[in-house]
């Protein structure tokens, strides 16, 4: 009591004059300025693009094709020694000064013309924050070869869609190019340009992109909304050493996966790991995706009926119900709280060695080998990483390529052609092969890359992708602008079964169908009587008169 009175007295007796106030305020402002400048100067800045010497130009005329007009720019071409780390080159055994792809459109473009036209200009790109290392890797080379400046904006993946849609609908023209999820491509369609005219101008052969990764980005009249940047399919990855120790063979079906998990569970409890890592399952579209990748392995589940937009999640033989039960069971074998996993959390759990098995995009397998990222790298442990096709239900599809990402160019872009050149530079055959092998989390979608045994050494999952991509299937909703809303609504209903608030898997799926039906009905799709587009790669190729590349 007395103490508080003393404080009050002291305060009332102090005179805070103008001069002393200004002194303190000035000192504070000065400190902030000095701190800010110091922080800016101490910033490590951009990665320096490795320059080449005269001797390396000899390899240009080796097995790789390089146009004569491109030779002066060769120092800026993506190449293994300019991108890959020492341990990666050692691991793959490549000659670092040789190109790993035989064709690459960067090597055929007349960059002299490009530089004379675009030097000094700026091009902006919005990208997913988790994958920003991919464009950053190629930023110095592009800036060198074009003379332009590239500005990158990283956005968290959970909010990428709504942030971009806000920019596009408002017509701000803030981004010259943006990373767009293929699953929601139709929502972006009205705002993007068709890149085919630019591709023709620069001799860029877009047909080298596997149809599985072009399905969603192709418009009704064949328009292509961007170069594929990240072409994902799921694989089944496992630490074989843990299964061997438990006397287990590699599971081929989902039932076998669950049996293996049950055997591994007590062993994992003793050793501090879990049988399964759930890739992602957080409430909303992630729940829907994860369930969906399992559900399409049951042949009666097709997302919608093939002759109408009527939702088909349960399946005539209740394959969807089985898939949801499997999803929930897998969560019980995963670290606690995995029900709300997002990509980043799942990845950290896997790379930290918390799991024996998982399904994921091909980035996880590659990153597992990275001794700087992964505690389970076979390069410095006794782990054996195996990559297999997705576990089977009553059939086996390569899971839907719902996370194909492409680089779209908004109509409001202030520099469309330069944006196109950046997108093809970053996503050429060689660039994308190097990205996939460099563990950036961004994967190639080119037939010439994923079928190349030399590249398999650097990205072991590509072999599996090449063998299964031709069987891929996709949600039919990806052809609707409402895809995101549909996935969110369905995912929220499916989640109720996972968190126990809905005891019946079938009811949860029926509720999901009802929620989706409402959206489709409001938007008028149920009234039109139009069939949905093909949902498998095979059918899409038939409809578009294209070859479905197979091993």
């Amino acid at each position: 009591m007395e103490t508080s009175l003393k404080i009050r007295r002291d305060l009332s007796e102090k005179n805070v004059g103008r001069r002393s106030f200004l002194k303190v305020a000035g000192a504070t402002a000065g400190g902030l300025i000095v701190g800010g400048v110091a922080g800016y100067l101490l910033n490590p800045g951009e990665k320096v693009w490795t320059t080449v010497t005269e001797t390396t130009t000899k390899t240009v005329t080796g097995t790789a094709t390089v146009s004569p007009t491109a030779v002066p720019w060769e120092q800026y071409f993506p190449r293994a020694d300019r991108i890959m780390k020492d341990w990666e080159l050692k691991w793959t055994g490549w000659d670092p000064t040789e190109y790993i792809t035989t064709t690459d459109w960067v090597r055929s473009i007349d960059w002299g013309k490009v530089k004379s036209k675009y030097s000094g200009q700026t091009v902006t790109m919005a990208c997913e924050g988790v994958d920003i290392s991919a464009p950053q890797t190629f930023q110095p080379g592009f800036q060198g070869i074009s003379g332009a400046t590239l500005q990158l904006f990283g956005i968290p993946p959970e909010t990428l869609h709504e942030k971009l849609m806000a920019e596009f609908t408002a017509g701000t023209g803030r981004y010259d190019t943006a990373e767009l999820f293929g699953a929601w491509a139709q929502a972006y369609f009205p705002y993007m340009i068709d890149i085919r005219p630019f591709a023709q101008t620069y001799g860029v052969d877009l047909k080298d992109i596997h149809p599985a990764f072009r399905m969603m980005n192709t418009g009704p009249n064949g328009e292509l909304l961007g170069v594929v940047e990240d072409a994902d399919l799921h694989s089944f990855i496992l630490r074989k050493n843990l299964l061997d120790k438990a006397g287990l063979k590699i599971p081929d079906t989902w039932d076998e996966v669950l049996e293996a998990c049950e055997v591994l569970k007590p062993i994992g409890e003793k050793e501090g790991w879990y049988p399964w890592i759930t890739y992602y399952s957080a409430k909303g579209f992630l729940t829907f995706w994860y369930w969906g990748t399992i559900a399409v392995q049951f042949k009666d589940v097709t997302y919608t009926r093939l002759d109408s937009w009527e939702p088909n999640f349960v399946g005539d033989e209740e394959g969807g119900v089985r898939a949801l039960e499997i999803h929930k069971k897998l969560l019980s074998y995963s670290p606690p709280g995995s029900i709300n996993n997002t990509y980043e959390l799942g990845r950290e759990q896997w790379l930290a060695g918390l799991g024996a098995m998982a399904t994921s995009h091909q980035c996880w397998p590659r990153q597992s080998y990275d001794p700087e990222l992964s505690k389970i790298s076979p390069l410095n442990t006794d782990n054996i990483i195996e990559i297999r096709p997705y576990p089977r239900g009553t059939t086996r599809h390569a899971p839907e390529n719902i996370t194909t990402t492409y680089l779209g160019i908004p109509k409001t872009s202030k520099n469309q052609e330069l944006a196109f050149l950046w997108s093809v530079y970053m996503n050429s055959q060689e660039s994308s092969a190097l990205m996939g092998c460099h563990g950036t989390g961004v994967e190639s979608g080119f037939v010439s890359v994923i079928s190349n045994p030399k590249v398999w050494k650097g990205q072991p999952a590509y072999k599996n992708i090449w063998e299964t991509a031709w069987t891929a299937a996709t949600e039919t909703f990806v052809y609707l602008p409402e895809a995101y809303a549909i996935e969110e609504a369905a995912g929220a209903e499916i989640y109720r079964y996972l968190d126990g608030s809905e005891p019946s898997a079938k009811k949860a799926l029926q509720n999901a169908e009802e929620a989706v039906r409402k959206i489709l009905d409001k938007a008028g799709y149920l009234k039109t009587g139009i069939k949905p587009p093909p949902w498998t790669v095979e059918d899409w190729c038939k409809e578009h008169n294209e070859v479905n590349p197979k091993p």
Binding site: T3, R8, G272, G284, I339, N340, A492
Partner: protein, 284 residues
């Protein structure tokens, strides 16, 4: 000619600001809520109160409202007494009280998302520091994300860690500004510290307590950051703010989202009125 009121003239910039930043968006939101309107489609369709009916019959909305009130009550119930206790401690003079006051204030200066991420890292299964101690002490790995009660405990920890200092600082200011005479009289009368606290201190700082409590309650009803980071709205923790984000901003359904926002505003308006009227005499 009638002279223009100078007071009115000087208020015009503020009134314009209020109109464009509050009234117009608010009225436009009501207009949007009566339409089927998603930003994917150029056409909009008047549907009257259909969105409102859908919201009020939605189990997700009811669950979100419950979660909002639940977190408001538990966070307030912890933060107010804890903040008051800290304020009383900091009102005493002891060595280092100045530094103690600064340290107590630090959490408020952190951005809420950063605080939530920090706590998430501490509680990650097998990887977080708190989980390590939990295993060492024999409690095993705690499921902070997948279990409603444990997730709620974590959300309470995050919010209390960051906002208890808000109570502490405001109440400290009230404590140090109290007149000394009642205390001197109480000392002469031989009153115990407990009596002094309950009969003099508490009633004297009651107006400040009520005001800061009303502000904090209305703030808690908007709780969102820990939800986004910890559970993404899963495990039954989705509050109204998180719900609006999910149904309005993600699918860009501004019709339905607008209806939720209007109902949310009505809820806050009614509650704020009740609180202010109830405690009007105390504040005045």
């Amino acid at each position: 000619m009638r002279k223009l009121n100078p007071g009115l003239l000087m208020s015009i910039p503020t009134l314009l600001f209020l109109f464009f930043w509050f009234f117009f968006p608010f009225l436009y939101n009501i207009y949007a809520s009566m339409h089927y309107w998603t930003l994917y489609r150029p056409d909009i369709q008047f549907i009257g109160a259909e969105n409102f009916i859908e919201v009020l019959t939605s189990i997700d909305f009811r669950n979100a409202a419950f979660a909002s009130f639940f977190y408001t009550i538990i966070c307030f119930a912890v933060e107010l007494p804890l903040g008051l206790g800290i304020a009383v401690l900091l009102s005493r003079e002891f060595k280092g009280v100045g530094i103690a006051r600064v340290i107590v204030a630090i959490p408020i200066l952190m951005i809420p998302i950063g605080t939530s991420i920090m706590w998430k890292l501490l509680t990650m299964p097998k990887l977080g520091l708190l989980q390590y101690f939990s295993e060492v002490l024999g409690f095993g790995v705690i499921d902070f994300y997948g279990n409603f009660w444990l997730a709620s405990l974590l959300i309470l920890l995050i919010d209390a860690w960051q906002w208890t200092p808000f109570f502490a600082i405001v109440l400290l200011a009230a404590l140090v500004s109290l007149p000394r005479e009642p205390y001197e009289a109480a000392k002469v009368d031989g009153a115990s510290p407990f009596m002094v606290f309950t009969k003099i201190t508490l009633p004297s700082i009651q107006p400040v307590m009520v005001i800061v409590s009303i502000l904090r309650v209305l703030d808690l009803l908007k709780l969102a950051d820990p939800i986004f980071v910890v559970t993404k709205g899963g495990s039954g923790t989705e509050t109204l703010s998180a719900y609006i984000w999910r149904v309005a901003f993600k699918p860009l359904d501004i019709g339905y989202g607008g209806a939720v926002a209007v109902l949310y505003w009505i809820l806050m308006f009614v509650l704020a009125n009740i609180l202010v009227r109830r405690f009007k005499s105390v504040i005045q």
